[in-house]
Symmetry: C4
Subunit: 270 residues, 4 copies
């Protein structure tokens, strides 16, 4: 209500001052509000307000598909307050070898206050989405709607919902035998059954990689994977598609929790 | 909380820069914060915060009833992020023939980034409200309160509530035999029963037109139509009336869900 | 999330322009952010975000107790969007005769767009709080927590809660036989039972006056009156006290709804 | 949505004006946005939006661990609107004797409007966290999730939850026999059981001190103490750690309420 806002102009002003310790190249990058590093910051602030990344939880990674090298991937670091990250705090990785090109530990100490950054534990999971689905961005949240759905359906390996208009915001995906890739062939229909696989959580986030990859393989129609008692991974062709899919799915998960508690079946029998 | 705000002045500044590629006429239009195209942007941002238009869902259309040609109608495009639309992205249609006068596809590519805009699938529904009720604006949301009410009363063809103060924010409408029109004759009373018809959803939004029109005809007292498993359409004499009616109805739908789950009848027997 | 904010500086700028059509005296008044007319605007925006005054519902009135004439009372008009009111839209009334000194209908048409303002239907209720309790401000909301409490306890004439820390934010009031007035003698204790009378709603808001006055008389310890199926009236010695009491009471009403639905008694037996 | 934001630059501007009545030393202190007194203001605005400190409830204290004298502690005053406090309104106390070095009552009356400030009733509780745990900051909220958990488990002396990913945001603490101190040895694991002691509320907040200290002694692994029917105390090594722990715990308390009401056990049997 009366909370501090982070007006773009205010930020720009203050950042311009700070940015001067960076190389001119980096300065120029970070002056562009549409640069992946800045978009990660903007979206993390938005996600924080939705209770999706509070307490350093969750994260986001964007692939620079519109840039000169579409194999560059920006990833927010581990364990920091997501709503307060700055563009120079990202790890920069190159696909397909996942070579680390830049880390925030290379940034002048004036900006990082000598903090020792670690790559996000989600990194191999994000990489799986890039490699297996040619994603342009990948979002990971600790959404309580996601966690509640995995708890309310504790014995199920997938979440299903049908006959809700918001399903139409999600892509219809199909495996193309010729290209050997999962490709978007349109949008889901209102009456389609949206199915999202649920994998079991593991003590260490990186250990989710195998089961996430298996779920992605087994569910070619899915744009997301739920992790029981943990949250959700959502990806899309671009950062904006990933954002829209994540919003639509979270809307459906929120509705699904209400429906389940009210005794309304999630999948409508026709 | 710490999310980016979109201060008017910041926006104006940045837009002034961008707007320079437009014709002087369009520039002048879009400099007026009360221009329908700008009001659509402002209200979509507001609706986004209410979870009414997340994930590209929902939309709004405004008729320029205070302008030189009150038959001009501005409509937000299909499938875009509603909270981020810009004034030049609207379709402009003239009543009563629904002739398209301008599309965002005519706007210089610098602004649209060559995106191929499609008219909203809600267009024939908005047009029905303009034609049948002489509306000044029409709002369509995916409000979860609206969807939940249609699910909690899955076998009912209408939603009814009475004896709640907020009902007084809604107009009392009556069919005037002389003019052959539905006209506002005052405000609803506290003890009045608010009745909103519920129509069944269809796979394609435009296919809702017939049943929406039938509902509008059969419910001359209604300012809104609920769409099962989908959302709601609300209209009003002006954009601000439509906004107020939509807020009041959503308040009542939210309350109705709570009342139903707590076992409290929505219509009070006297 | 990305909704338009109304930064003070932005507002001031735009208002300074608009204000120039006013008399220098009024201009000076409205330049002071702590002027009652400006505080009403600020608090209405805040209340809107809490779902307390959406759809033109609710309102607020402030008595200028720190001004030259502490009998001046500012009241927001009826039926307008509360989050968008401007300082020149207030009715100005003088106690104790409730003489109207100024109405927004006297303001230059450039500012009011010739809108015909009506005094709030809450006016006699606000006046009752000023007359009977020497209040400095009075807040009226359509809070859903307030409405739900009156519905969950439909057969009760009062709302009671005890043993919640937040109760300590409320004043301990006692009738002083010497002065013949209800006076604040301290703060409520954690273990005190907070009692708020519930009156029945009436078709016309002004008809609530008698029962509100009766409730105020019968409950000398109360700082608020609940109106069944309608909302709540809360008052305090100053505008800030009224705001704090209203926040604390709404917190308790919200908690009470949760407790009731979970089967937890609101009043703890010791 | 349309609520006033408090842009940093706007604040700075207005504060710069006001600050001129202060000594140059204090002016310089309060110009630094990272000064503990300013951080308290910033975080209180944030907490207000979460319904954690509405109605003057709750508070925060920060120890100046990065300053010249790490024994200085800043504490917000009692009974004021937490989202509106200003940096000069803090009490300044020195550890370990809790000597009051500065009170807002020493500040020029132009700024304080002659308000008589009292130290927060939480002061001895905050001091306990500094003394017993070497905390860098301590947060106290009236979070409804915290209160509800203490009500839903009214007969239990502790709150426990396990197997939720967000648990990993909390520190693993152990008593070090050599130093005689509780020290952080890492982060909690996903499968660890988070245990937070619940103490009974007392009529006067300062009377909680003994039971809070006892709970801190008996639960060397805890970073927080719940107070039944009241709220929670959370502390951390730095202000940012305390903020993150508080967010993570509140997320878990919110989830715990939902789980309990849905009949899902909070601690998973393996």
């Amino acid at each position: 209500m009366s909370a501090p806002c982070s007006c773009k102009h205010a930020e720009e002003e203050s950042q311009n001052g700070k940015l001067s310790v960076l190389t001119p190249e980096l300065q120029k990058e970070f002056e562009d509000p549409n640069h992946p590093a800045n978009l990660i910051c903007e979206l993390c602030r938005l996600f924080y307000d939705n209770n999706w990344v509070t307490g350093t939880g969750g994260g986001i990674s964007i692939r620079d598909i519109e840039g000169k090298n579409p194999n560059l991937v920006y990833i927010a670091p581990s364990g920091v307050q997501k709503e307060r990250i700055q563009p120079w705090e990202m790890f920069l990785v190159e696909l397909p070898d996942e070579k680390i090109l830049r880390t925030p530990n290379d940034i002048p100490k004036e900006l990082t206050k000598s903090y020792k950054y670690k790559p996000s534990a989600c990194t191999p999971l994000f990489m799986s989405c890039y490699a297996m689905r040619d994603a342009g961005a990948c979002i990971h949240t600790h959404s309580q709607h996601a966690v509640m759905v995995t708890l309310l359906f504790e014995n199920q390996k997938e979440f299903s919902i049908s006959h809700i208009e918001q399903i139409k915001a999600l892509p219809k995906l199909e495996f193309n035998e010729t290209t050997g890739k999962v490709e978007k062939v349109g949008s889901m229909e209102y009456y389609d059954k949206l199915v999202i696989p649920i994998i079991e959580n593991t003590p260490h986030e990186e250990d989710l990689t195998d089961s996430l990859q298996e779920a992605i393989r087994n569910y070619p129609g899915a744009s997301a994977v739920l992790v029981r008692r943990h949250g959700i991974y959502v990806w899309g062709e671009t950062v904006w598609k990933a954002k829209v899919y994540n919003e639509a799915i979270d809307y459906l998960l929120e509705l699904a929790v209400k429906m389940k508690l009210a005794g309304i079946p999630l999948v409508k029998e026709e």
